[in-house]
């Protein structure tokens, strides 16, 4: 018989190896894209013969990308902020009150989690045409609000659950009316949850693609839509360069969120000891 300690060691190594392989699978595309982005030739080849930065310059100068980026910022700013307000307020009433149609409204607002984005996109496209709304930013923003709302709702709801009601009771007992309690006690204590909910919503909205493909027009297309169109037409490494910038930017945001908000808590995956 193999002694138990050796057996456990072997098991540990096998586990470690498996995790390393999976992590490699996760980071492989990002690594490959990074290599491709520095390839001097416009045609894909591995390993690249000559290296250069020029595709980064091309990507930054490409008009569709620039416009997509700024459109994306506009859509993201509006939709994540609206979703934060709408979702934050509704999370508050779900947590506190009973009222008619509560679970119906909640169910409807959560359902985009399992409804395919192409269905949502098509729905808003048709609806906009039916009510005579032109295909401007409004439709895109509304569509994004609906798509990111479930995440905001959940994030704020979890923070509200973890907020001890005695703080608000204490404030009320000291003579603070509902509005004052809300602004001086509830909101400040909820701030981390609100910030992470907003961040969540913003990142998701900025990256949303499928529904955006349906509801944006040439004038309002967001960055993912512009990238998709580019990939369909061109094969040069500009897109790889843009992807690298994208990956670095997102990873930095995530690392920032992790350091300041504790992603583990937000995602509800802290080990209970």
């Amino acid at each position: 018989m193999i002694p138990r300690s050796t057996y456990q060691k072997v098991l540990g190594w096998v586990g470690l190896l498996a995790v390393l392989v999976i992590v490699a699978f996760l980071v492989l595309p990002a690594a490959v894209v990074t290599i491709a982005a520095f390839n001097d030739k416009p045609i894909l080849s591995f390993p690249p013969q000559t290296w250069s930065w020029r595709w980064f310059g091309r990507a930054l100068a490409y008009e569709d990308f620039r416009q997509g980026f700024f459109n994306g910022l506009i859509v993201t700013a509006w939709s994540s902020t609206i979703a934060l307000c709408v979702g934050g307020m509704f999370a508050f009433v779900i947590d506190r009150y009973k009222f008619p149609l509560k679970s119906a409204i909640e169910g409807i607002l959560i359902s985009p989690l399992v409804i395919p984005h192409f269905t949502v996109g098509l729905g808003f496209l048709i609806l906009a045409a039916q009510v005579g709304l032109s295909r401007g930013f409004a439709v895109v923003v509304i569509c994004h609000v609906i798509l990111v709302l479930p995440f905001v709702l959940r994030s704020v709801y979890v923070s509200l659950r973890n907020l001890d009601q005695s703080y608000e009771h204490a404030a009320a007992s000291l003579g603070a009316g509902p509005l004052r309690v809300l602004t001086t006690v509830t909101l400040p204590l909820l701030l981390p949850g609100l910030v992470s909910g907003w961040l969540f919503a913003a990142i998701l909205s900025f990256n949303e693609f499928t529904a955006s493909l349906f509801v944006t027009s040439q004038r309002t297309q967001t960055l993912p839509v512009a990238m998709y169109n580019y990939v369909r037409e061109f094969a040069d490494p500009s897109m790889a360069a843009l992807s690298v910038m994208y990956i670095v930017g997102t990873a930095a945001l995530i690392a920032f969120a992790n350091a300041f908000l504790g992603l583990g808590k937000v995602l509800n995956i802290e080990q209970s000891h």
Binding site: L26, P112, T119, A251
Partner: protein, 283 residues
């Protein structure tokens, strides 16, 4: 006394959103029952013909392919995701944990297009894998990885892996470690502890993760479109083609409705199958 301050003000915007969303879904439903008038953007009268068309082999085939791709992706993602979730929850060093967390979470927020594009570079004929295998002399000519179901599933697994890991980790993290410590103290080896304690207790997370992975894959568009390249078609691709190439919005809507019904059916079955599991949920 007003025991529910802000109730109306706070419910109104959400209600408005819910109504808007319902209106959009009703619009889809309504279009699915309208006739297609070729050459016109406006639909014709009410009809059930669209639903009858669904039975045509061409469309039935796409439905079948979609379900197969989704199911395969969900299962592979589960198998690949479990060890990673386990590691994420059990790693003790804060730095290692943070690194792992960022690696897992970042792709979640990268969006489908960037990730799919990366896989094109990995899987293409001049791509990373083929170049590597060729230069090692393992193959004589490039493998066909693009435009195959295999390529689509690999890329989709990569797309759904983060969310699966997060859901599994959420389930695992709420299992009290004392359970496995207790099992260890009773003389169970690590594999037995895993099989008899950890795995059964994590089943709710498994169900949640699989459900979400299925729904996400079903929703994927860019991956089957760019990596499937027309040879692996999913419902999403068909909807887009119908809508933006032939302006047949009524039939596109019909496909959406059928897709919704299919999702509901599969998710319902998953819930039903997992009902016995709920008995062993912790707390």
């Amino acid at each position: 006394m007003n025991q529910q301050p802000f109730l109306r003000i706070f419910t109104a915007p959400a209600t408005l959103c819910a109504v808007g969303f319902i209106a959009a879904m009703v619009a889809v439903l309504q279009y699915s029952l309208r006739a297609y008038v070729p050459g016109s953007l406006d639909p014709g009268g009410f009809t059930l013909a669209n639903f009858a068309d669904l039975l045509k082999p061409l469309y039935a085939r796409v439905f079948l392919d979609t379900v197969v791709v989704c199911a395969m992706t969900a299962v592979v993602t589960l198998i690949v995701g479990y060890p990673l979730a386990y590691a994420l929850v059990r790693v003790e060093q804060p730095i290692l944990r943070s690194i792992l967390l960022v690696i897992v979470v970042t792709p979640l927020f990268l969006g489908e297009v960037v990730r799919t594009y990366a896989w094109i570079i990995v899987l293409g004929n001049n791509g990373f894998i083929n170049s590597l295998l060729l230069s090692l002399g393992l193959i004589g000519k490039p493998l066909q990885l693009m435009f195959t179901p295999f390529g689509v599933v690999v890329a989709l697994v990569h797309v759904t892996l983060p969310v699966m890991v997060i859901m599994l980790a959420a389930g695992l993290s709420h299992i009290d470690r004392d359970y496995s410590r207790a099992a260890e103290s009773l003389g169970a080896g690590p594999i037995r502890v895993f099989l008899t304690v950890t795995l059964p207790l994590s089943l709710p997370g498994v169900v949640a993760g699989t459900t979400t992975a299925f729904a996400w894959t079903f929703s994927a568009f860019a991956t089957p479109q760019l990596i499937g390249g027309g040879r692996v078609n999913m419902i999403s691709n068909l909807v887009y083609q119908l809508g933006f190439s032939s302006f047949n919005f009524p039939f596109a809507a019909t496909l959406c409705v059928a897709g919704l019904a299919l999702t509901a059916l599969v998710l319902g079955l998953l819930q039903l199958a997992s009902r016995p599991l709920r008995k062993i949920e912790v707390h």
